[in-house]
Amino acid sequence: MLKIERGGDLSLTIPDPSSVRGKSLKSKLLWSHLGIALVGVTMLCLALGFAVWLRERALNLVDLRSPAAHASSQALSGLQRSLAAIRGWITVGTPNFKLERINAWQNEIQPAIKSLSEISPKWLDDQDQKRLKKLSELLIELEEWQWWIEDIAHSAGNQPAHEIFSRYVRPIANEILSVCATLINLERKLPRSEKRAILLERFADLKGIVSSAQEKLGDYVTSGNVRDEAELNNSLRLARLRIDQLSKHEHLFTEEQHYFFILLNERLTAYESLAGQIVTIRKSDKWDIAQFWLSEEALPLAARSDNFLTSMSYVQAELMTIDSNLVYEMSNVAITVSIILICGLCFLAISISRRSASQIVKPISSLVKATQYMAQGDLDTNIPVKSDDEIGQLTISFNRMRRTLKEQRAQLEAQKKALDACAVVAETDPHGHITYVNDQFCQLSQFTREELIGKTHKVINSGRHPKEYWIDFWTTIQSGKMWRGEIQNKAKDGTLYWVDSTIVPFLGPDQKPEKYLAIRLPITERKKAETALQKAMAELERSNTELEQFAYVASHDLQEPLRMVASYTQLLANRYGEVLDSTGLEYVEFAIDGAKRMHRLIEDLLSYSRVGTRGKPFRMVKGNEILDNALKNLTVAVKENNASIVRTDLPPIMGDEMQLIRLFQNLIGNAIKFHGNKQPEIHVLCEAQNGDWIISVRDNGIGINPKYKDRIFQIFQRLHTRDEYSGTGIGLAVCKKIVERHGGKIWVDSEPEKGAAFHFTISRMREGFKNDDAALNHHG
C-alpha cells in the first residue's frame, strides 16, 4: 500500500498497482500491444524470410546464372569469331584477321572464361566446375593451335609440295633445261646429217617436254587438279620416252654430249622423283598444313569447346529460366502473401484492439456513467466488478468511495439535522450576505428566511458590542481563520439574545474565503445562569472571607484569655504549689495541660484558617528547595527516628512557597511519626500526568485502613489516641486545604501495616518554561 501524506496531518492510502491480483491493466495493455506487435513481427518475419529467399534467388540469378549464361555466350561468340578470323587469315592473309583473332581471345574468350572461373566456386554441381576446367584446357590448346596455324599459314613450309617445287624442283628443272640447251648447242656444232637432225629434234623436243612438265607441275602444285596431274604424267612419260629414244642413238654422241646426256638422265630421274613426291604430298591431307591443322586440330578442339560452351550456356540459360520463372512465381506469391498478411494483420490488429479497448473502456464507461449519476446525487447505484485489474480495483474503490460518500452524506445530513436542531446555522458570501439560514435562525431571530436571505447580519445586530469587536471579528475570518465568540443579537421584536458563535471561513483555490458558515448556539439562558452564579460566588466568597476572618479573629482573640488562664494557672502552681495537696496539684496540672492543648488547638485552627486568609500570591518556586526546607524543619525528627529519605528531583511549581513547605513537612512528618516498629523509609516521588504533576510521599509505616481514607483529611480527626501518637488531627486537613488552594487534590493509598502513599497533584505551569525537561534542568 502506498501512503501519501498531505501537510503532515492528512493521509490518504491508495492501492499499490502491484498488488492487483490477476492481470493488471498495464499487463493487459502490454499484452494487447505485444499481441498485435507479435502478430505483426511474425508476419514481417515471414515476409522478411520470403524476401531474403527471393533476394537470394534474384542474386543467384544476377550474380550466377545471368553472368554465367552471358559469359558462356560471350565465349562462344569469341570462339566463333576467332575461328572466322583464322579462316580469314588462312584464306586472305590480311593482318586485320590476326588482330581480329587476338581481340576475340583477349576481349571475349579470356574475360568470359575468367568470369566463369570467378563464378564457378558458387556452382553447386561439381560437374560444371570440371566442365569449366576441361573447357579452359581446351581453349588454351585451341589458342595455341590457332597461333601455330596463323604462324604457318603464310609461311613457305605451309605447303610442302610448293616448297619442294620452289626450293628443289625448280633448280633441277632449270638445270635440265640448261643441259638440254647445252646438248642442243653441242649438236648444232656437229656436222649435219639426217640422224643428227633427229637427235637435234629430239633434244629440242625433250627441252620442250621438260619445260611443259615444269609448267604442268607448277599448275598442279597450285591447283591439285587431276587434269594437270595427267598432263604432268604425260609430259614426264614423253620426257622419259625421249631419253630412251636418245639412248638408242648414244653411239652418235660425242664424249661431251655423252657426259651431259648422263647428267640429263640423272637430273630427269631426280626430277621425276621430286615430281612424284610433290604429287604424293599434294594428294595427301597435309598438302596445306594450316588447313590440315585447322581441320584436324583446331576445329575438333573448337567443336569440343563449342559443345562445352553450348552445354554450359544451355544449362545456365535453362537454370536462369528456371530461376527466373521461380523468382517471378515467388514474387507473385510474395505479393499475394503480403496482401493477405497485410489484410490479416489489419484484421487481427482491429480485432485485438477492439477487444482490448472494449475490455478496458467498458468498465471505464460504467465508471463515467456512475460518476455522472453520482454527480446528480445518486449514490445508490453499485457498479458491478467484472475484472480484477486496475479497472476492477478502480471500480471497487469507486464503489467504496460511493458508499463512503453515501455514509458521509447520511452522517452529514444527520449532523446537519442535529446541528439544525440545536444550533443556529447561517451561511454568507464573502461579503457577508446571507445565503442560507436554518429554521433555528429564523425562530431565534424571528425573521423569515426570505427576510434574511441576501441581507447582512446587521439586521440582527444589537449594537451592544464595540466597533473594535467587529473589526477583530472581520480581520480574523477574512484572514481565513476561524472565529469564535459570544455575540448578543437583537431579534425582530427587539429582544436581545446571546449566541455562542463559531464562524468558519471556506477558502477558495486562491486561499481567500468563498463563503462563511456561522454556527451559533443560543446561550441566553447560560448567560443568565452565569450572571446568577457570579453573584452567588461573590456572595459565597464574601461569606467565606467573613467566616475565615471570624475564625482568625476568634482564634486570635481566644489566645489572650487562654494565655492568661495558662499563665495564672502556672503562677498558681509555682506560688501555691506547696500549699496545694497532690490532688490540687494534679488539678492544676490538668488545667495547665488543658490550656496548653487549647493553645495548640487554637494555633492549629489559626494556621488552618490562615491557609485561606493569609496565603501569599503564587509564584514559581523550585520544588527541590521547598522539599529541602521542609526536611530542614524535620531534621530532629529524622535523626531521632533514623529515617531514610529517598527523593527524586521535583519540578518548579507555581504556588505559595510557605504553604508548600508546610505541605511536604506535614506529609513527611506524618510518615516519620507513624513508622511503627520499622525504621522509617520515605520516598518522595514526582511524575507528570496529563497537565499535572503527581507528587507522592510513600512510607513503610503502620498504614491506614482504606475506610478512613477520606476521614483522615477532615479537621481534628484522629485515628489514634493521644497516648499512642501525639497531635491535634489538623495536619492532613491543612494539607488538603493547601492542595486545594493550589487547584489540586490529595488522596491516599494504603493498607494497615503496609505503609501509606500520599499523592497530591499540582498543576503544571508551563508559562516561562519551554517544556518540562527544560524546567527540570533549570531547576537542577
Binding site: S155, A156, G157, E255, H258, I262, A270, S273
Partner: protein
C-alpha cells in the same frame, strides 16, 4: 663448267663393294638386323658385337669415316677446311648427339642435292626417350650414304675405310666431332643454313617449350613476340640463343637434371654465323625434347616448317618468344621443382 670424264663403272663397283660387305655381315649375324631405310649397315669398328650395343666409340669410328669422306669431297670441291672452334662442351648424352646428327644429315642431304640433284627424304626422328647411340650411328650412316652418293656422282675414286678407335669415347666426343663436321659442311654448301633455317628450328623449339608450359595450365604458352629489332646479325641471334640455352640449363638444374655444358668463347660468339646458330638451336631443341620426353602423356610439338626467307632480325624476334617461354617455365619450375615427376597439372598461384 669443268669437264669431267665419268668413271661410272669404277664408282659403281666401289659402291657395290660396300654393299657386298654389308650383305656378308648380315648373313653372318642375321639376328642383329636393324632396319635403316631399307638399307642395312653394320658397324665395322669391332667395338660392338651387336647393333643394340653400339656405343659412342662405334659412332666416333663411323664419324671418322664421314670426316674422311667430307675431306675428300672438300678437296674435290676446292673448299677450305673449317676453322677450329673454341667451344667447350661436356656431359653430352646420346640425345644431344642425335639431334646434332640430324643436323649433320640435313647438311649432307642438302649437299647431295646441290651436287647431284637427288633429294633424300627428311630423317624420320626417333622418339626422344628411346634415343641411343645406335640411333646416332644410324643418322651418321645416312649422312655417310649421302656423302658416298656425292662421291660417286663426283667420280671421286679414293676409298676410305673405317678404322678401329682405341680408348673410351663419350657422347660428348661424338657431339664435338659432329659439330666440327657440321661446320665443315657449311663450307661446302652452296646454299648455306641461313637465318631461315635457324628460324625454323627456333619455331620447333617454341613448340617443345609450349608443350612443357602446358604442364602449368595457367601459363600463356606462346607469349606475344617482342618488337622486331632491325639490323640484327647472325651473331646476335647466336648470343640470344646462348641466353636461351642458359635458361634451359637453369631449368634443368632446378629440376635436378644435368644437360650439356656448352661454353663458347665470347670472341667466338661474336663471330658466329647462322650455321653456328643452327647447330646451337639444334642443341636447344635436343635439350627441350629431352625434357619433353620426361613428361608423361605430353602432346608432341606441332613440328617444324620452313618459314620462307627470314632475316636475322626476324629470327632474333622469334628467339625472343622462346626466351620468354623459357623464363616463364623457369619461374614455374622454381616453384615446382618436381614438375617432371608429379602427376597432374600445376595451377600457378
Amino acid at each position: 663448267m669443268k669437264k669431267r670424264v665419268p668413271e661410272t663403272r669404277k664408282h659403281v663397283s666401289n659402291f657395290k663393294f660396300a654393299f657386298i660387305i654389308v650383305l656378308l655381315c648380315l648373313l653372318a649375324k642375321p639376328h642383329q638386323l636393324l632396319s635403316l631405310d631399307d638399307e642395312v649397315l653394320l658397324p665395322v669398328s669391332s667395338h660392338s658385337s651387336t647393333l643394340e650395343d653400339i656405343n659412342a666409340s662405334d659412332v666416333l669410328a663411323r664419324l671418322d669415316l664421314v670426316r674422311d669422306e667430307v675431306d675428300l669431297i672438300r678437296f674435290e670441291m676446292g673448299k677450305p677446311a673449317s676453322t677450329e672452334t673454341r667451344i667447350q662442351l661436356s656431359q653430352a648424352t646420346a640425345i644431344e648427339a642425335y639431334f646434332q646428327a640430324v643436323t649433320l644429315y640435313r647438311k649432307t642431304r642438302r649437299l647431295a642435292f646441290e651436287r647431284t640433284g637427288d633429294l633424300a627424304d627428311e630423317p624420320k626422328l626417333v622418339k626422344t626417350n628411346q634415343i641411343k647411340s645406335f640411333h646416332v650411328w644410324q643418322l651418321v650412316n645416312q649422312s655417310l650414304e649421302r656423302l658416298l652418293f656425292i662421291k660417286e656422282k663426283l667420280r671421286i675414286e679414293e676409298v676410305n675405310y673405317e678404322k678401329v678407335r682405341t680408348g673410351t669415347s663419350s657422347s660428348s666426343n661424338v657431339f664435338q666431332v659432329i659439330l666440327k663436321l657440321n661446320r665443315q659442311l657449311d663450307e661446302l654448301l652452296e646454299q648455306k643454313f641461313e637465318s631461315s633455317e635457324v628460324y625454323q628450328e627456333v619455331t620447333h623449339a617454341i613448340g617443345y617449350a609450349s608443350r612443357l608450359l602446358a604442364r602449368f595450365p595457367d601459363s600463356k604458352r606462346i607469349p606475344d613476340p617482342p618488337i622486331l629489332e632491325r639490323g640484327k646479325k647472325p651473331s646476335d641471334v647466336f648470343q640470344k640463343l646462348m641466353t636461351s640455352y642458359e635458361l634451359i640449363q637453369e631449368i634443368a638444374g632446378q629440376s635436378g637434371l644435368q644437360i650439356v655444358k656448352f661454353e663458347v668463347d665470347k670472341a667466338e660468339a661474336s663471330k658466329a654465323n647462322s650455321g653456328d646458330s643452327y647447330n646451337l638451336i639444334s642443341l636447344i631443341v635436343s635439350e627441350l625434347a629431352w625434357l619433353h620426353s620426361k613428361l608423361e602423356n605430353a602432346a608432341p610439338p606441332p613440328g617444324s616448317y620452313f618459314p620462307g626467307y627470314r632475316f636475322p632480325s626476324h629470327t632474333f624476334q622469334r628467339v625472343g618468344i622462346l626466351e620468354a617461354q623459357l623464363s616463364l617455365l623457369k619461374g614455374f619450375v622454381s616453384e615446382h621443382p618436381d614438375w617432371l615427376v608429379s602427376e597432374g597439372n600445376f595451377v600457378h598461384a
